[in-house]
Symmetry: C2
Subunit: 223 residues, 2 copies
DNA sequence: ATATATTATTACAAAACTGTAATGGAATAT
DNA sequence: ATATTCCATTACAGTTTTGTAATAATATAT
């Protein structure tokens, strides 16, 4: 999990980096809008922590850029409990905001909460998508409350989709993730076969997949 | 994840229940030491939230009872930022404390943090034990940075240990968890065989297991 | 409309997994 | 010391998984 932090106050920025890294996140820090724009346009992060008031502009701008890239979680750091800021923040698509001075613990809680909202994972490590429940703590999958037995490969394929929900996954990417190959050690068709096998077990009607959909010429996408 | 809450103020108690259940925990509420003692002696919970000052005694007592049952996480709710309380709390084995009035978000953060400490799970869903890293988001296991290929059954067995770290798991319990049987549908020896297979893959020296240890006459225990 | 590229389906051997049985070893009890 | 109980090890057959090949179906391009 990598977090992008935009914060001009060096003390706060470093403090945040420290706390976040301590929690197991990796952190990229930017100190100005200019710098942030450059970084954000080149990379994607799991979550964006954006200060609102910076010397060379507002965090709003970065939020807009980020949200244009897709469904990505954003939290604003606001200087005051300013209602107007809050409303505008949510209108711009921020998922949460926190006003300074904040307690680090609280920020961490909000980060977790927002991330969980994005992955549909609840406190038990269960991920629910429609009628499907994936319990990663027990490696058990149910569909309509019926347990589905997945093979090791099928399960890993499913997890890859869950970890990239809403994103199109190319065949290449999937092959890399599941078979750890960068080339074509495994037949390209192997993946197609596994997709079918997974669909047969997980989809209500495998002929009209609702969960794992194919994006012709691109790859596959979960829901 | 089930949380035991001891709190005599009904408003706070109900509020906590609501917030915790909203986060996906299941909650058991007690309003007095007497009630708490009865419940706690009969059940085990994933975490204990104990108010310190109650009409019929102190949450300390419950903490002692709980800690006598094993390595279980406890958080105190204290009325004031009272240093003496804090020190005594930690001496009694509390893992954290939070003073009222607290923000729910902060409490949730501390709960997550404490639970994570107990399960060794970090922000990425990775669980680290010595040289072993289990990534439940990808169903990948490494030992000394080398990927280990586990079968579906072996992986589930390992997860069962991880979810019950520090507790002795009886053969019966393990059979129930992994083979979903309450009797002896599968040979009792099957488990023994799987323990060996898992050890062979995961232990540095399978002849002297450091991770999965046998407790003669009882079962097995992780570390 | 036809060709081409992309994905889906089916079938099939080789390999791996799964559960059991038989045997061996180690700890505890008698 | 010996018996007994509990756990470890090994070997093995039946089953499942795994990856591939061959073929069919579908969408896009010419």
């Amino acid at each position: 999990m990598n977090i992008f932090v935009l914060e001009d106050d060096i003390a706060i920025g470093m403090g945040l980096s420290y706390s976040l890294e301590n929690e197991g996140y990796s952190v990229t820090l930017a100190k100005s809008i200019k710098e942030a724009k450059e970084i954000v346009s080149k990379n994607k992060y799991s979550l964006y922590l954006l200060d609102l008031t910076l010397p060379d502009g507002s965090g709003y701008e970065i939020c807009k850029t980020v949200k244009a890239q897709g469904e990505l979680p954003v939290i604003f750091l606001t200087a005051f409990d300013n209602e107007i800021n809050v409303v505008t923040g949510f209108e711009l698509g921020a998922d949460d905001y926190i006003s300074k001075p904040f307690r680090v613990r609280e920020l961490l809680a909000r980060i977790k909460s927002v991330l969980r909202r994005y992955t549909n994972e609840n406190a038990d490590g269960k991920i629910v998508i429609d009628d499907m429940v994936v319990n990663t703590n027990e490696a058990k999958v149910t569909v309509k409350d019926e347990e589905i037995i997945l093979t090791a490969m099928e399960y890993r394929l499913l997890l890859t989709f869950l970890n990239n929900r809403g994103k199109v996954l190319t065949r290449q990417k999937l092959l890399e993730e599941i078979w750890d190959v960068d080339g074509d050690f495994v037949n390209d068709n192997t993946l197609t076969v596994y997709i079918k096998r997974l669909r047969d077990k997980v989809e209500e009607d495998p002929n009209e997949p609702k969960l794992i959909q194919t994006v012709r010429g691109m790859g596959y996408i979960l829901k």
